[in-house]
Structures are given as structure tokens and as C-alpha cells.
Assembly symmetry: C2
Homo-oligomer: 246 residues x 2
DNA sequence: CGATTTTTTGATTGGTATCAAACATGGTGG
DNA sequence: CCACCATGTTTGATACCAATCAAAAAATCG
């Protein structure tokens, strides 16, 4: 069952041996059901930094769960401008946008050497019919993506530059922490320009705002190495923005 | 089976008699499956203008399909600011955000007297297990919502005021047209402030931009009555925004 | 190590927000 | 049915935040 994609290495893979099992499929399954689930996953696939997992317009066949590494997704507007719509780390799903019309509507790019599990959608549908808890879980995953997008819309529509950056850093910190990494000391996998695109800001504004946070003693910036010195202040900026208003 | 909710009237309802059937459940079903689907829909419910269909924080039990009327959804930030995340017309679904954690994450408000079909989620799950085509269709609906949100993010992150307004008017026009209404002559159901919130602009900017479009002869504005005089120009503004850039 | 890309910082511009006031509207109650 | 009041809309003047333009400095990659 082992095939070789262009630049990607593919290896066989079992869910119960995956340490991220609990992240992407946190449903309690009987042995028989677990067999069924394993038949869903075709294989895992390794991508080098900069490699595309899929591109907008490509026909959709599979959902991908990030095993290790880091991805971004980009939507392209017809006039050449594009927008980073999300960053994805282990246990998070890529490709849900492709279900509705059998074509991917965004690009997914590895921001570092990464590994994903491929879940052919047709197998997921079958598993969903056979195992109701998987169907429900999948509904929940898609719903979570919708809620996540609503939060981003709230940010893009209402927040000023400092608030956006604070929200971005806090969110990243929480997700890393949830995965067992240090919450207040991490390496950014994306460029200032990619952060800016995601936050609806220009790269210069991102750079300036990070510098400002550093001057105020909130964070420490060394290129892509970020330390949150006073994370609680960042939280405050995100939560109680009335100060800036009133 | 007729109950009375506070201010809402509830009536029995059958999918095959609903003229919007094709919009919200465009799947070809056998008679037996149709019976199953009808058992999913509990009833339809009427809401007066301004009435809430559900509120953020309320426990989630059902998805709602708009039968007639017009809704908005709002997410509230912890500091009191809020953001309109969508406008919904007949055949469109409300409440998908509630699946992921059994609580609604936004408010849904009727912008005119409206009628919805209530689809208890537990029945939808059962129907999805029994009828694979319904499961698939539901995945597609949720995926479409994700794609729609991505488009809004692109708009909020990249477009200037005029482009946002043009995109808004074109989108509204297309959706009305798809439902058999006039594409270039319609009544706005929402206020300038609600449009502004949705587009990430202040109400004054919305008003000014509409006035500007009118001065340029692109549209005709009479309060909430909008006519698209040169819809193709609005399309151009949305598509080829390079002019403004280059 | 050199070439290219990314990042930082400064100066200036510009678009939208903000503040303010007049005007229109629509719903309510007399 | 009309007057009235609360709400929504338009338009103007000004302020401010982030974009843009520009250039130097640092980092990454081959």
C-alpha cells in the first residue's frame, strides 16, 4: 500500500500508535471500530518546508490531519491579492473547505518539514455511516472550524493593530501549551508578512507593533524567537479593549 | 403536535410541500427516505422582526433552515463590541456553530417577520446514519459555510471600503436573484450600522460610500430601497481591484 | 561567502474613524 | 389620524491609525 508522491515520503500509519490520536479523533472507540478507523487513514505523508499539500482548484479527495509540523492556508482573490486564513499545528485538520464542491478553495503550504495523515473523504463518509460517534465527531470538527472563523472575523472587523497582534500571540501560546510546548517561549514558523496577511495588516505594522510590545516589556523578540514576558497583559489587551475606546 | 413558544407560532410542516426544499436539501430521496427526513423536521416556527431565534450561550439542540424572511447573526466579544457575521435568507442554515460544544456561539435575530424549520440535531445525526446522502449533504453544507467565511475574511483583510460595499451589494443581488427575486432592485432588510458591522466599517462610511456610488450613477439609493443601475461596474470593482492598487 | 530575502526603522500620505449636527423615518400613543 | 419621540441616516470637519514609500541592516540559503 506504499506509494511515492513527487517529493513526499509515505509511510503506513495506525491511529492507536499516533501520539496525536487524542487531538484529532478524541472519541472512545471499541476495537472493532478502531479497525474501521484505521481503514480510513490511507497513509501519512511527509512534506518539506515550502511544499504544497494541496492547491486551490485541485480536486478534493482527502482531509488531512497534521501529525507534526506547521501549515498555513491561503485564499487567492481573483485579482492576485491573497489572504492567509489560518495556521495549523498537530492534531488540526486541513481541507474541510473542499467538501462543498469537490475542489479545494485554498492552498495549504508546509511552513516547516511536516507530516500529515491522509483521510480519504469517501472512507470518512463510510466510517461515519457505520460508526455514529465518528459522524458526530466530524460534525463537531467542522463546527469548530466555523466558530474559529467567526472569531477571526470579529478580529478583522473590530480590532486595532495592537489588539490583533496580542490576540495572535495569545492564541498561538495557548495552542502550543495545549500540545505540551512552552506557552511563553516559542519560535514563529511564519514570516512577518504571513502574520500580517492573517491579521489584515502590512508586514511593517507587524514589525513595528512587535517592537513596541518589546519596548513596553511585554515580550522579548529575537527574530522568530518570541518570549512572552507579561502574558497577562497581552490577555488584558485582548479582553478589555475598552481602555482604548473609553 | 402543536405547541406555543413565547411569541412564536408553530405549525406542522412537510419537506415535500416546502417550496424551498430544493434550496436547503437538494438531494434526491426515495419516498421512504423522505419520510425519514420529515421525521427530522420538528416544526416550523414564526418569528417577528427583532425576535431572537437563539442567543450566544444558549444550549444547542437544533439547526434552523430559513423558510421565509431574513436573519442576521452576531458574535459578541467579551468587551461589548460585536460583529455581524452573516445575513441569512430562505434556504440558508442557522446554528451550525453550536454543534462543536453544544452551545450557540452567536445570536441569530430576525430582521423581518420570518419563518424557520427546526431540525433537531439528534434527528439529523440519526438520519445521517440511515441515509448516507443526507450525511454527505450536511457535510457539504457545513463546508460551504467554511468557504463563505473564508471569503468574508478575504474581504475584511484586504479590501477597502468601496470594494467591500460593492462586494456586499453584488453578493446580495446574486442570492436574491437565485431565489427568483429581482437582482437589481431590492429592499435592504438591515440598517447601515449592521452593514457596517458586517463589513468592518462604521455606519457613516457605509452611508458615504453608498452616496458616492449614487453620485457616480452606479446605484440609486432611496433609504433602504436600492437599485443597481450599472451592476457590471460593481462586479468590476470586486474583481479587478488592481486599478485602485496599480 | 555572496546574493537574495526578510526585517527593522523612519518620513509621509491617505483612508477611515471620530465628533458633531441637521434631517428623515417609523412606530407609538393620545 | 396626527403629533411626537426614539431611532436611523446623511453630511461636514477634523483626527488618527495604519499604509505606503524608502533605505539600511540582518538573516537565510545555496
Amino acid at each position: 500500500m506504499i506509494k511515492i508522491h513527487k517529493q513526499s515520503e509515505i509511510v503506513q500509519n495506525l491511529c492507536e500508535k499516533c501520539s496525536f490520536h487524542v487531538l484529532c479523533m478524541p472519541v472512545i472507540l471499541k476495537d472493532k471500530e478502531l479497525d474501521e478507523l484505521n481503514s480510513v487513514i490511507r497513509h501519512s505523508r511527509r512534506l518539506k518546508k515550502g511544499e504544497y499539500l494541496f492547491r486551490a482548484g485541485e480536486s478534493f479527495r482527502s482531509i488531512f490531519a497534521v501529525r507534526t509540523g506547521f501549515f498555513k492556508t491561503i485564499v487567492n482573490s481573483q485579482d492576485g491579492r491573497d489572504q492567509v486564513t489560518g495556521f495549523f499545528m498537530s492534531g488540526e485538520l486541513l481541507g474541510l473547505d473542499g467538501i462543498c464542491n469537490n475542489h479545494h478553495s485554498c492552498d495549504a503550504v508546509a511552513l516547516e518539514d511536516s507530516e500529515v495523515c491522509e483521510l480519504p473523504f469517501i472512507h470518512l463518509e463510510q466510517a461515519g455511516t457505520l460508526i455514529p460517534s465518528i459522524q458526530t465527531h466530524f460534525y463537531k470538527l467542522m463546527s469548530r472550524e466555523i466558530v474559529r472563523n467567526q472569531e477571526i472575523m470579529l478580529m478583522l472587523g473590530n480590532m486595532r493593530a495592537e489588539e490583533r497582534l496580542a490576540a495572535f500571540l495569545v492564541n498561538l501560546s495557548q495552542r502550543l501549551n495545549y500540545r505540551g510546548f512552552a506557552a511563553n517561549d516559542f519560535i514563529l514558523r511564519m514570516s512577518r508578512e504571513e502574520i500580517g496577511s492573517y491579521l489584515g495588516l502590512k508586514l511593517e505594522t507587524v514589525s513595528r507593533t512587535l517592537s513596541k510590545f518589546q519596548q513596553e516589556g511585554l515580550i522579548k523578540v529575537e527574530h522568530k524567537h518570541i518570549q512572552l514576558v507579561q502574558p497577562w497583559v497581552l490577555h488584558e489587551i485582548v479582553l478589555s479593549c475598552q481602555k482604548a475606546i473609553g
